[in-house]
């Protein structure tokens, strides 16, 4: 294997334009000449014109570049790690969490705690689940380790609150049942790789 691909460090598309810049004057006379030239060349108005043009574009031609936060927000990467979300199964609407406790185990700041119980349907029920966001460092391990893609990181990055330590319970993070159709599949850490199907070996089944 050649190493060419590693030597090309220009990642992404390059549309650099080399500017034709004059040399900085070295002598006193040269500096004086530059000042005189710039003063009488009306370069000031070039700058003013650029401002004017952009204002007109923004106000009258609909080319505004400013994001009006908090009225407007930029879309963020699916790999961004903000406040956790608990997803539901799309078919049944039941929460995906099976109560395996791996997130609780892997959490390096010990901020996840859960209680489980044996429920009436002989299943493991998650009776309580909480994340202490005062301690969470948003490392994403919980989402990565989750075998069911039940706990994921959502895009809610505004975490300012009156208290430093604010807790979240299971219900707070769970997709509201009436908004199940809006639930987004998570593409961040721990999500299924695009070529997952190719890596699966089938188990023989007798039925």
């Amino acid at each position: 294997m050649g190493l060419e691909q590693f030597k090309n460090r220009n990642v992404g598309q390059q549309n650099y334009v080399m500017l034709d810049l004059e040399h900085t004057p070295q002598t006193g006379m040269g500096k004086f000449r530059q000042v005189v030239r710039r003063t009488f060349k009306a370069e000031l108005f070039v700058g003013l014109w650029v401002t004017m043009r952009e204002m007109i574009n923004a106000l009258f031609r609909g080319q505004m570049h400013t994001v009006k936060y908090p009225l407007e927000k930029l879309p963020i990467s699916p790999r961004y790690r903000a406040i956790h979300e608990m997803l539901r199964l799309l078919e049944s609407g039941h929460y995906r969490c099976i109560g395996c406790g791996l997130c609780e185990k892997i959490c390096i700041s010990n901020c996840i705690t859960m209680d489980t119980r044996y429920d009436e349907n002989q299943r493991k029920e998650v009776s309580e689940y909480t994340i202490n966001f005062g301690r969470c460092i948003f490392c994403g391990y919980c989402a990565e380790v989750c075998p069911e893609l039940a706990i994921v990181h959502g895009p809610r990055y505004e975490t300012a609150s009156e208290q430093r330590a604010s807790f979240s319970l299971f219900e707070d993070m769970l997709t509201p049942i009436d908004k199940l159709n809006l639930q987004q599949e998570y593409d961040g850490f721990g999500a299924v790789t695009p070529n997952a199907d190719e890596n699966i070996k089938k188990t023989p089944l007798a039925y």
């Binding site: 395996c100 044996y118 309580e128 075998p147 023989p204 007798a206």
Partner: protein, 825 residues
Amino acid sequence: MSEVKTVENMVAITIDGKTYHAKEGEYILNAARANDVFIPAICYLTRCSPTLACRLCLVEADGKQVYACNAKVKEGMEITVDTPNILAERRAIMEVYDVNHPLQCGVCDKSGECELQNYTLELAVDSQSYAIPDTKREVKDWSSVLHYDAGLCIVCERCTTVCKDMIGDAAIGTTKRGGEALDKSYKETMPKDAYAMWNKLQKSIIAPSNGTDFTDCSDCGECTAVCPVGALTGRDFVYASNAWELERVPATCAHCSSGCQIYYEKKHTSVFDRSEKIYRVTNEWNYVSLCGAGRYGYDFENRIEGKDEAAFNAAIEAFKKAESIRFNSVITNEEALMLQTFKEKMGVKLVNPDARAFQKFLSTYAKAAGQSLYSYDFKEVMATDFVISIGAALRNDNPNARYAFNNVQKMNKGAGLYFHPVGDTLVPTFGKNVEVVTHKVGQEEAALYLILDLFADKEKLPKEVKAYLDGFKSTATKTVKEKVMKEVTESVIDEETGEEKTVTKKVPEMVEKEVTVERNGLVEILGKESDAFAETFEKMMKKKERFSMIIGEDLYFHEKAENIARLVALIEQTTPVRVAMIPPKTNSLGVALICDLDEEATGYTVGYNENGDFRLSALGDGDLDMPAMNQQEGTLTNMHKRVTPTNAALEFKGYELNDLMKVLTGAPELTVDWTEKLPTDKGFKTAKFDDLPNGYLNDGTENRGYALENITCKAEDISVEPFDEKSVLEGEIVYRCNPQRQFNDFSDKAHEIFEGFGLYASPAKAEMLGEKVEIDFGERSITVDVIVDDRMEGEITALADFRSAADVYGLFGNARYRKVTMRKV
């Protein structure tokens, strides 16, 4: 297991080219484990018979494939653990185990402690070649504590093996699963052992052996401990916590004198309640088996909010004016030593009825035998092949004594003699060579004389005793029918030649014969047919080499306990039988060695977990709260003559006895600072608490605390009295005996122990008694519920003594059997 490793009984074996030493007659698997060599095996349990269900332990020994769990080591044996063929077998076996095993490891209670998971990874099973339609297997609750998820079961039969070979209940067994037959083509294509194992696996599943949906057993939960997968669990623990979240605290079980090694496993109570809680108790099941009280009786802690200074000051005052202190044996050695020190400085009386009786018995025995302690521990009992039990309700008094008795029958092709007045239907099921002698109450001496007669070297016996024993012998003539081979001469005509020939044939014939038989009056006194007993005994004695005797509480509380103690010493002196004693309660042995006990409490009495004018209590109902046994550290002296450490699993926020002693007599900083002060003249060692280990080595060596030194002195000449027919009790008799899984107030407090306080009776007797009775002891009476115990037989009823508030010890006085009158209520 407890045998000393001497050069004579060791053999040299080679495993994968390396030389190791192993005990002669040991299984290859055990020898390998003792030497830290890994041979995979799922179904084998160290102290039980090989099941041969998993077949993973296949090894090559001297060029032949054998199962390591079932083949014994021989001098010079060459063993190869892995050969290509064996590896193929093992891989196929693991694939078979994974067929249709639910992929719900995420929620399984085994949470990673799974042997199926481990071996699947160890043998690198990454694909599956076999398939069969699954069968629906129901989840069942077998009893108030046992939960069985048949879907997860791999039918290794470890549960059934331990239940039969160790516990003795044999309450579960394999039954038909109704699974489909294997595809014929597998027989040719699959490795041989894997096919055989699959064939068996596909047919069976575990179920209660009594044919119902519920087990009829002592609810010890040992089956849940040995289960390699998540199929068997305690009902309370199902989906309660992942194993890795729990912190293990090594401890000693505080319920009975067995002092088993346990781990308390604890974590916070819930998301909202961060105080710690014990979730379950686990044990090193290869080396120690727990009972139901040990496994499920763990939540007896005394939760209090903080230090109550007023109560503490009141306690100081109470101690200052106390004339006696009453306590029981659920107490550490350190606390016993504190009380003894307090007695020495302040001259109070120490009263502890159970330990007092045992102390007197032990000291009489010690003088007669010339050693401060009994000879055998219960591990040594387990290694014998003939075990006798006298004076112990084996099923109730001490689970480990019962396990030892049962294990001898199952593992050592042993025999057992069980002397007890209360009929029991379980003991005879331990083995076909178990002889149960249900004698009358008070005939324990006769039973001991019988043992002398049966086992003693007549030369060694004192003349009077020999003459006394001979006095019971009589001869009688008896007509017996006997088969005799008789020669008959016939003349036969040969059909071909026509010649006449004489032929002699042997023909069996029944002949009546007069024989003189020796009758043993002792056997007849104990209620057995002399001839029949002699015959069974002869059968029992075949090929027996090591003999042990378990003696229990009945003897310590016997009217003639001193004579009995001397008789026991005489038995050890003149017979090959070695004695192991069951101390009545948790630390009775420790208390008996450490404290000077008095008979009766007088005047102002401080009670520690007992009745008194001022009560220190770890039950939360006293005048000053004390930590319960799972909240304090210290040592306990168990019946295996070991001083074992126990650690605090849960926090205790109040005062300890040591705090009281600091004010009263002066005491070191910590309770465990007393450990090194335990009396060395009684066999204790000056060891620091923190230096005491608490675990087992790979070869099963018990590495817990230290063994008490058995101090020898000059034995006195033993003179024993003949037994007295007058001490025999007849009529309505009540026996002081706890139900299984109940030992004291603490086991009673635990939420998973359901056995109630009351009068236990056989089904027939219970029907006669009705629901409630008033038992009149003469001076006092008590009204209790009647509870049926299916395994009891006969007229004698058993009154539980685990509730100290009911003062059952007081009712019975210095006896374990009392004649009473009962009235229906």
